[in-house]
Symmetry: C2
Subunit: 315 residues, 2 copies
Amino acid sequence: MSESNNSPLSVGIDFGGTTVKIGVCKGADVVELAEPVVTSDHEGPDALISAMADTVADLRKKHPSIAAVGSGVPGLVDFDDGFIHELTNVPGWVNVPFRDLLAKKTGLPAIVDNDANCVAYAEWRYGAGKGMKNIIALTLGTGVGGGLVLNGEMYRGTQFGAGEVGQMSMDYKGKAGHYGNLGALEAYMGNKQLCEHAILRYAAAGVAKSEEECTPKMIAEAAQAGDNIARQIWGDAGDWLGTVLSSIVWLLNPDGIIIGGGVSKAGDLLFEPLGNKMKSMLSPVLWDKLEIIPAHFGNEAGIIGSAAQALDATS
Amino acid sequence: MSESNNSPLSVGIDFGGTTVKIGVCKGADVVELAEPVVTSDHEGPDALISAMADTVADLRKKHPSIAAVGSGVPGLVDFDDGFIHELTNVPGWVNVPFRDLLAKKTGLPAIVDNDANCVAYAEWRYGAGKGMKNIIALTLGTGVGGGLVLNGEMYRGTQFGAGEVGQMSMDYKGKAGHYGNLGALEAYMGNKQLCEHAILRYAAAGVAKSEEECTPKMIAEAAQAGDNIARQIWGDAGDWLGTVLSSIVWLLNPDGIIIGGGVSKAGDLLFEPLGNKMKSMLSPVLWDKLEIIPAHFGNEAGIIGSAAQALDATS
């Protein structure tokens, strides 16, 4: 195989609370996706990391040129020493030297990073932010996650906690977020919270709607079909998100903001009011050249970004 | 003189709309402060830069080891090529290659940067942020200015417009800032706006106060003397500032936030409610090791920071 001679390959592990997705990457491409590991099938870090390593060993048989392994983790990671203090949503993951265990069990150079950072890295290295110097990459899903590339490198912050866009405030007297933080964007823009807002918006217009009828996907379809209330809901979302993103632009003056995740699939229904809001909030110097772009990668961003970080760190 | 043999000296120029302050610096010390140049005495860039250069020439006679000159500018500067597109508050300063003219007229290597960046650099290099990796330095005065040092270097943003903390929003339905940006911190925390808020706070309690009685200094004195309304005004300021600074911490997870400028002289009257607000808005990981510190330098920060940047860039 030519691949084993001259193509650098690496493995990306997207470690989630439900499943662990593992793929072999060559640049922006996932050349092979392994059978996912079910997180709850393996009790504790040792068993789960062994299961990851078994999958990596199988992949290396088919792809002997695999040179490194990276993992995106659902929580705070000390990137420099690869240590996890605690993963709130994965039982038993307290004080785990994850990078060293992963390297030992796979026999490969390893890196581990926060999952949102891996997504940002994928978009910057190979995706919508390629060639840019300063980007923010957002994922709008259950929560609102973010990662930053500044001055052409990942920016992780002093305790590796940077990028928590969903916790930023858009209203100093607003709804409390997860940490009691008033006006947290996530308390408005999270999947569930957007749904609750939609139910209220419809109720105010005398229309009773259930939760099932108010998923982001349903609201997008309703808006596309001409439902004015649904359009207003996306307008509200654009105002909220636009307020926080404008603050980020005033602070960081980036080249681009990259937006992915389920909620972003509403497309122009969200991006149009978002852009209008941001234009109204920014100076021309900051706005005119700013790019607000849908994410290039979908569910595979975490795999691609962790694999890319691993390879770039070791080559 | 021993100085000329082994002590690197540089000149810092704090270019303001009213006066241009020029000093010879040795590290954190201003070893000689020249007679200020009155900005409006010199029509247009050429005349003003010549006046600056004359002062620099005089200083070099006394301090022959001066090795570089730097200037902090009240507006947007392209740091890489030292070009000023426009200074809103200084007539005639449109499309000026300031750095090159300054270098030519002084015969010294030169740098020019935004004034808030120079203040941040001074605090990071020699002041309250010394030894830190990631800081935000704020100046609370007529407006709210800011500068960032990230990953151990000045962060200026793609169009060199980063650090505009005063334009960040604390309320998506709030008061409009200078750019029409709703909820802009500066629309609440600027000197004048804080004064207007104080007049309203007193009026609501049936107390008529004039503008002269509501300067930040007067409100601080009143609060210190036990005036409850004055204390509440500082509480409001702490809430507003704390909301925006918490958002910055969620985004950037810095080591420290350094706060200077006239309004910050209220000291604990401001810093105490500010800290309480931020603690209520942040996770322990981000809050526990965060330092919120009064600025080390006062009015000379711009001179010291521009002089230090000039020397560091050329050595």
